[in-house]
Structures are given as structure tokens and as C-alpha cells.
Symmetry: C2
């Protein structure tokens, strides 16, 4: 610990983009140097508005993130983008057309885009993403957009680390309300029906409206669990607005920006901002502890012993829980 | 540890379904009793064929899982189903039509269905799912189908714990090849184009064929990284077959069953079965260690101290990594 060059942190915070990129790579890898760097950054964090954007594949959320970044930037804000979605153009998993659109953001010093590998993070994707967000926060970006594919637990965890979560739907993807099926409605602070020029957009918005108002329970198409969770999520007096957009030409994106800003005001006004921050930090602390404790154990017993025990478990010479006791004692 | 009634394990293994359900709940919660139960079960595990079924929402993979279970059962096999997909009818997140279809499987003692909560598992979804699979394996189910939504890291982890992974596509979901965009092709052992009666099914199958043969790289529509990973995945002489199905009426499902059985033969014949088992067990061992080490620390320092540190971090009185050092020492 403590081997990170203090100058790297200083340079990154002064706006040196190459230093910032190196610093992000450092914290993404969660080395001991990363811990030192994050400790140094900590006093400067806590100012950015972290906005998660999530939804099923095919809803056009990458295009929406691109357009949100452009329009926020046009309004004078600085914007960080962290793309966790493997299908995002920001992560290189996209088709040619998407890549061309992305160039709009390239070369503007007020925008910083980072894509996250969707696997291989030792402490988990949510933890690595949280670290990257923290660096961008400390570097002074006003809004940080975190794009996730929003169907797995890791993505829900990432969304939970955001102050405001935007859930994106689109008509004609085979389900009336995909977000509901994917369990996403309960984390939505703002709902977007993208591709609003397609048939079925108004109906999709209506269906969401009905679900949010609890009317759908009488139709038998929403499970009680979903509604209970949604009701809990909405007890603090915030009802997720539903915005129709055509991200491809920018239609409705200003409304999304207004809804996101209104949610931020709501969080501050209701005291929820501090509560979310504490809950997020406690979870992060437990994640880091888990990683740190395992690292220390492996340094002590040696990776080879673990591998050997795994082989013996596979051959049914011992079992997993006896092996755990062997490694950590009773 | 060791407080689990030995009779619960015995009863579950003798085919008592209520005991089996209780045992599954026990291991899902990952208590110390769970460890004892899993240790007792271990010698009887390792016989089931664990088949992951994954794909984007809207591909009809739940219907396919339902139909696979029915047709496997009709062929004389016993079948366990573990549904991790929050949109699956098995998890209660489905529309009415899906639920009605599911009844086909109810009341048959040769079928056992378990749905997993998609959040709240202390050691992670993959670990809890692995434990449930282990119980069904020990209880003697021949094939265990694990259904995941297949877009997040947790789901990829679940799939990695399977012997054979079936990736489901469907035409008309807005992308030519959704699995490719979601990074799923690299884990596919069998590819299914479901909803084959819809327009575009043949084209989707063709597109997959091209990608698997590497031809798509010259079209510029597939990133080099995807192809490299896919090539690595296929170096053991297995080329994922592409099967077209209409899961709703059962068309093509026998072909999927044959492809899955052929893959099992391939794993055994090539020695890969043992290799996958060892890799899976090593990962599981690390996961359990991580959970166990944190539990022990929390028991020692008290949860209250962790919460207090989180509050102080939020107020910028200290930082995350200083807090970690406070809790575990340098």
C-alpha cells in the first residue's frame, strides 16, 4: 500500500486526461495501490450526480446515453460516461453505426468515456464500477452516466450505487413491459419509453402508468411481489415520471434531463441523498473487506494449496466445507 | 456447524419432496447448517448433467426450458429445474399464459422445480444456485436445467457452473444476433434459434453460422475480441450446433436434447468434464472462503462498528481504505 505516485492523482485531478485514464485503470484493478489512490481521492468525492441508465438489450439505451451526454454537455455540464453494458458502443461490443454516432463525444475535454470489462474484476463488477465512478467524481465531472444492461444481479447492484436510476423500455420487443419482467421497475426513478415513433409506444407508456398506479394488479398480470416492492420504493413521495423519447434524433431527451434533475432535488429535499450515500458506502465497505480478507488468506496459505484442495474435492476425497475449515480453522 | 438434522438429509435423498424443499431452502441461505448439509451430500454429487439455458428476455427460453423438461421426462429421465431468470414463469415473474403452461410439470415426482430469488443471497447468486444444484444432484436428478436471463455477470457465472450451456436466440428482437451483443456466444455449447416460425429465423441461424465459422470478421460486424474468445472456446474440437425450435409446440426440442447429450459425450470423451468440474470447484471454494472470512470478521468486530464506519466515511471523516485497515489491521 502507498506506492501510488501522488503526482498521478494530482495530475488526474488537474484535468490531465492521460493521468485520469491511468488512474482509472489503477482503481479498476483493485490493487493495493488502488486503495491508496482512492483514499487520497476521497475528500474530493460526493459532489457528482451519479445516474444509472439501464434496460433490456434492444431498447436503445446506448443511443439514449450518448444523447443525454451530448445534451447535458450542451447545457454546460461536464459528463462522465461509464459503460458496463457489454452491448454498448462504448464497450466495443457494438455494430458499426453505433460507433460512428459515438464520435460526437470524442475530443471534448468536458466529456470522459470509460467502458468496463464485464468480467474478470476480482472484487466484482459493481465494486470496480464504483471505484471508477469515484475517480470521475473526484475529477469534478458534474454528472456521471452509468450504462448497464440491467438484467442481472451485478447490474442491479451497479444501479443501486446510482443516485438516480433511469430504466429504458421500447415498444415491440416482444413483451408489453420488459422492465417489469426483468424486475427493473422497482429500481426506476425515471422511466423512458424510447423509440416512441414506433407502433405501440403509447400503449407501452400506458401500461407502465397503470403498473405504477397499481391498477394492473386487478388485471392479474403483475405479481404481488412486484407491486409491494414498487410501493415500498415509492413511499418517499416520488412517483417515477414516464418520458417518451426518440433518442436517435434527440426528441424528448431534454425531458429526461429535467426528470433526472427533479429527482436529484427530491433526494436532497427529503434527506434521501445522505441515506443512499451511507447505504452505498456500507455495501462497498463489505465488498472491499471480502476481497481484502481473501487476498490476505491466499497470501498466507498459498494459491497452490487452494488448487490442490479443489482437485481433492473434485475426486471426492474431501468436501468443500471440510476444505474451508482446513484453510481458515474452525 | 453440525446442527442440521441428519434425518433431513436422509429424508430428502430418499425422495421426500418436502424434506428436499426444506433442504434446498437451507443451503440457499448459506448458513453454517448449510455447510454441514452440503458436506454430508458431497459424496453423492457429481452424477447429474447440469445444463444452463440462457438468452435475452423475449427469446422464449422459459418456454423452451418447460418443453425440455417435459420431453426429457417423457424420455424417462428425472429432471430438476432451477430458474434464476427473474422473468421466468418459474420465478413468479411471468404473465398468466406462462403459468398455465407450467402446470404440465406439476405433480410429477420425477420433476422438481425451484426458483431462485435474484437478489439478497449473501454469497452471491452463483454460489446459492450452485448449492441448490448440488442438492438436486445428490437427490439423484439425471438432468438439471438452470435457466438464467443471461445478460449479467452473475448469470454468466451461473452458466460457467454448468456442464453444457444452451444459448437461446429469437428473430425479430431488434438485433440480428443478440447473443453476440450480450457476449453470450463465447459460452454457448448449443445454440437455439427459437420462434423459428417467425420471419427472420433462417437469417438469424445463418448469421450465427457465419459468426461461428469466423466469416463475419470480414464483414466488419463482429469485434476481434469476440472472435478470439469464441475461437478459444471452440479449440477443443466442439463446434456449437445451431438448432431451430418452436418451443411453444415442441418443434425441434428433441434436436436440442440430442445436441445436449452429444455435448456431454464430448466432455467425457475429451477429458473436459473433469477439468470443468475442478475449475468450478476452485471458484466455488474461493466464493465460500470470501463469505466465511467476512462472517468471521463481522462476528468479531460487530456489525455496529461497520455501520458506524460507513457513516463516518459518508461524512468524509475517514475513507474506505482507512476503515478497512481499522477493521482488519495493516
Amino acid at each position: 500500500m502507498g506506492n501510488v505516485e501522488p503526482s498521478l492523482v494530482a495530475q488526474a485531478l488537474e484535468g490531465d486526461r492521460r493521468a485520469l485514464a491511468r488512474l482509472i485503470s489503477l482503481v479498476e484493478d483493485e490493487s493495493h495501490d488502488a486503495y491508496a489512490a482512492l483514499a487520497a481521492l476521497h475528500p474530493r468525492t460526493g459532489r457528482a450526480h451519479v445516474v444509472g441508465v439501464t434496460g433490456a438489450p434492444g431498447t436503445g439505451k446506448s443511443t439514449l446515453v450518448n444523447e443525454l451526454a451530448r445534451q447535458l454537455r450542451a447545457g454546460g455540464a461536464t459528463v462522465g460516461v461509464v459503460a458496463v453494458d457489454p452491448s454498448s458502443p462504448f464497450t466495443g461490443g457494438a455494430l458499426l453505426g453505433d460507433r460512428v454516432r459515438m464520435r460526437d463525444l470524442v475530443g471534448d475535454p468536458g466529456v470522459f468515456v470509460r467502458s468496463m470489462a464485464s468480467r474478470g474484476n476480482p472484487g466484482g463488477l459493481a465494486q470496480a464500477t464504483g471505484n471508477v465512478v469515484r475517480v470521475l467524481d473526484a475529477a469534478g465531472f458534474d454528472t456521471i452516466l452509468v450504462e448497464t444492461v440491467g438484467a442481472g444481479q451485478a447490474e442491479v447492484d451497479v444501479a443501486h450505487a446510482a443516485h438516480t436510476t433511469v430504466v429504458v423500455e421500447a415498444p415491440g420487443l416482444g413483451d408489453e413491459v420488459q422492465a417489469l419482467k426483468a424486475g427493473l421497475l422497482e429500481i426506476a426513478d425515471v422511466l423512458v419509453v424510447n423509440k416512441a415513433d414506433r407502433p405501440g409506444a403509447a400503449r407501452a407508456a400506458q401500461a407502465l402508468e397503470m403498473v405504477i398506479n397499481g391498477a394492473a394488479s386487478r388485471e392479474g398480470s403483475v405479481s404481488r411481489g412486484d407491486l409491494t416492492r414498487m410501493t415500498e420504493a415509492n413511499t418517499n413521495g416520488w412517483k417515477p415520471p414516464i418520458v417518451q423519447t426518440i433518442a436517435l434524433d434527440g426528441t424528448g431527451v431534454q425531458e429526461v434531463i429535467h426528470a433526472v434533475a427533479a429527482h436529484r432535488e427530491h433526494l436532497h429535499g427529503s434527506g434521501l441523498w445522505a441515506g443512499r450515500e451511507e447505504a452505498r458506502i456500507e455495501k462497498e465497505l463489505l465488498d472491499v473487506l471480502r476481497t481484502e480478507l481473501l487476498d490476505r488468506l491466499l497470501a498466507r496459505v498459498g494459491r497452490e494449496q487452494v488448487r490442490d484442495l479443489a482437485r481433492r474435492i473434485a475426486e471426492r476425497e474431501t468436501d468443500l466445507y471440510t476444505a474451508v475449515r482446513t484453510l481458515v480453522g474452525r
